[in-house]
């Protein structure tokens, strides 16, 4: 390995692990190709390339670290809404198929102070991206065991398509699995989705997820305030769209107002309770 490539390896370590996993090999190939260009064959050319790679690499690492931190923070404020909010023909679009079983489910022994258990939300969120999954696995196995009841019985099912090994499934597929699967005690579906919260002084773009009613019961989560989804409220084109908000959203957007339960929220133009 040449000095420029060794130096770039050090720069690469500044990036989030997930980014390195995704693009590290391509970036190394990029640097090797750049180094082989005739204009970089001279000592002066090599110095210019080295400076360019270091400056660009460090600035890029700062951007990616900031983006990773921002994503983590957004997930902490994530609301969860029912599939009833889905527009169009009444089918969740590209819904992630997450199936799981949880025998003898118990209530988690610790909850956040509002609608959704904070750790449930965080750990549900990490399942959708490779890097989050890697972190989640290490975090769960080595440091902080998941606080779901029977976490070893929960599995995540995704589809493969072409080279993608983590592709969303369609809602009809989920319905088929729910009706026909015999190996699972319970099957739930979740799809991450940002929604627009309007009808307030200033609109907000919120990160959240569409989930089936079984999602919370599968994880053994109960709200401390209000209630979770009834089965008919998460069916497609339900007449009763509802939303569950996280503790973070409750505090940040509603000032921890105890009267939030039952109030109407406008999400993606749909009035939800």
């Amino acid at each position: 390995m040449r000095p420029i490539e060794r130096a770039f390896e050090l720069v690469l370590r500044l990036y989030p692990r997930a980014f390195r996993d995704e693009f590290g090999d391509e970036m190394r190939a990029f640097v090797e190709a750049r180094r082989a260009e005739p204009r970089h064959a001279t000592p002066w050319g090599a110095v210019r390339l080295w400076c360019h790679l270091v400056v660009d690499g460090v600035l890029g690492a700062i951007r990616e670290q900031a983006a990773a931190w921002s994503t983590t923070r957004a997930r902490a404020d994530a609301p969860v809404v029912s599939p009833a909010l889905l527009p169009g023909n009444g089918t969740p679009r590209g819904a992630h198929g997450h199936a799981g079983s949880g025998r003898a489910l118990r209530r988690p022994h610790a909850f956040a102070t509002s609608g959704l258990h904070d750790r449930v939300r965080r750990h549900a969120g990490v399942r959708h991206r490779r890097h989050r999954r890697h972190f989640g696995v290490v975090d769960a196995l080595l440091f902080r065991p998941l606080r779901y009841p029977s976490p070893h019985q929960i599995v995540v099912v995704t589809m493969t398509r072409g080279t993608s090994l983590d592709d969303p499934c369609s809602y009809p597929d989920f319905v088929d699995w729910r009706e026909q699967a015999r190996s699972f005690q319970s099957v739930a579906v979740i799809r991450n989705q940002s929604v627009n919260l309007t009808g307030r002084e200033s609109p907000e773009r919120l990160s959240g997820a569409f989930v089936s009613a079984s999602f919370f019961s599968l994880l053994g989560a109960d709200p401390l305030a209000g209630r979770l989804f009834a089965h008919d409220e998460t069916e497609i084109e339900t007449a009763r769209p509802v939303a569950v908000i996280s503790e973070g959203a409750w505090r940040r957007l509603f000032g921890a107002d105890a009267g939030i339960i039952g109030r109407t929220l406008v999400l993606n133009g749909t009035r939800c309770r």
Partner: protein, 124 residues
Amino acid sequence: MRTKEPPPPASDFLPLTPAVLHILLALADGDQHGYAIAQTVEELTGGTVRMGPGTLYGSIGRMVASGLLEESSRGRGRVAEDERRRFYRMTALGRRVLEAEMERLDRVVALARAKNVLRRPEPA
């Protein structure tokens, strides 16, 4: 029956950053891997825009995540190419966003001409 999430409007992405704009322009003629994209951008801009791997792959990652680009079916390891390279192509949403950005820039240029801060090109 499978359904897809309707794409967001192109206007949600505007204005584009220089890096995203040039990557989309570089992919307007077909699939390319990252290094080829950087080379094309450098050629198209007469060497004034030179992308390093941090800028390039950070932008590509965000563009793939937002649906402007996708990995090409040519995938990794095309014959005679470095197997570490992946090919990318512009999606239909990416093309709409590029067109919308070009129209926006066209309006800006027209405005600049109307304000006499940009000379009209002289006839050949």
